[in-house]
């Protein structure tokens, strides 16, 4: 009986200690890299947006 209890203690100790390990994969924090959610505006075509805004600028903001 004592042997069984000892074995159980050994097994539970091994299991408990096996959970206490350090992850070998290091999380590298790259400073200056945007970490937020994506902006759908960035998915749209830049060139066509630039042309639209240039037309708008000519229409609205050029000197009278």
């Amino acid at each position: 009986m004592k042997q069984l209890i000892g074995l159980a203690v050994l097994i539970s100790a091994a299991l408990a200690l096996s959970a206490c390990y350090e992850s070998p994969g290091v999380t590298v924090h790259k400073a200056g890299v945007y970490k937020g959610s994506k902006d759908p505006l960035l998915q749209s075509d830049v060139q066509s947006r630039a042309e639209t805004l240039q037309k708008r600028f000519t229409m609205v903001q050029t000197d009278r």
């Binding site: 945007y34 937020g36 759908p40 505006l41 947006r49 805004l53 240039q54 903001q61």
Partner: protein, 196 residues
């Protein structure tokens, strides 16, 4: 590639504050937060000059450089935006910004700062374009609608210009040539004097 820029012509600005009002109205900016403000140089002295100041969407933005949670990003056309879900309201960007652009709504007692708010060049933020969520957090997304910032579009004297940096520079250059000199509100002599 076009880079979006603001430019305020100090010779034309009449300190009407319409840009400030238009911005607040368009984006329903909360009390105590001004995304844009008019600064008067030599107030009360003959020859005083006014300029309208907001986020200048810096090419190498110091706010982004100091942000501990990296919530800033720059769009392809050079507009500096940020994610309010990531912002922790630490205030570093406010100290770093030379224009005082970042603003913080007071949301709780004891002066606890809320999420940073600043001019978005009317380009919204990282949320579904033209959605209610985007409007609530960042204001209206006029860029997605094919429009330019309202502050500049409604400026009655066309002192405030906003758009492709090259086009803005062309207009300003023509004005300076027409005036027959260089703008005296900006430059080395204004900052340091003729002897500097």
């Amino acid at each position: 590639m076009a880079r979006m820029k603001f430019l305020c012509d100090a010779e034309r600005c009449i300190e009407c504050n319409s840009c400030v009002t238009a911005c607040k109205n368009e984006h329903e900016v909360p009390w105590g937060v001004n995304r844009r403000r008019v600064v008067v140089l030599n107030d009360g002295v003959p020859g005083e000059k006014s300029i309208s100041v907001a986020c200048m969407h810096c090419t190498d933005a110091p706010c982004a450089a100091v942000c501990p949670v990296d919530c800033f990003y720059t769009t392809d056309d050079g507009i500096v935006l940020h994610d309010k879900d990531l912002c922790i309201g630490c205030g570093y960007c406010f100290y770093a910004c030379p224009f005082g652009a970042p603003q913080y709504p007071q949301q709780k007692a004891f002066g606890v700062r809320g999420k940073m708010d600043k001019c978005t060049f009317c380009a919204g933020g990282p949320a579904k374009n033209l959605s209610d969520a985007e409007f609530e957090k960042y204001g209206r997304n006029r860029i997605a609608e094919g429009k330019l910032p309202l502050c500049a579009e409604m400026c009655s004297t066309k002192a405030l210009l906003a758009g492709d940096g090259d086009m803005v520079a062309d207009i300003y250059r023509q004005r300076v040539l027409k005036r027959g000199g260089r703008p005296q509100s900006w430059g080395w002599e204004t900052a340091y004097g003729a002897q500097g």
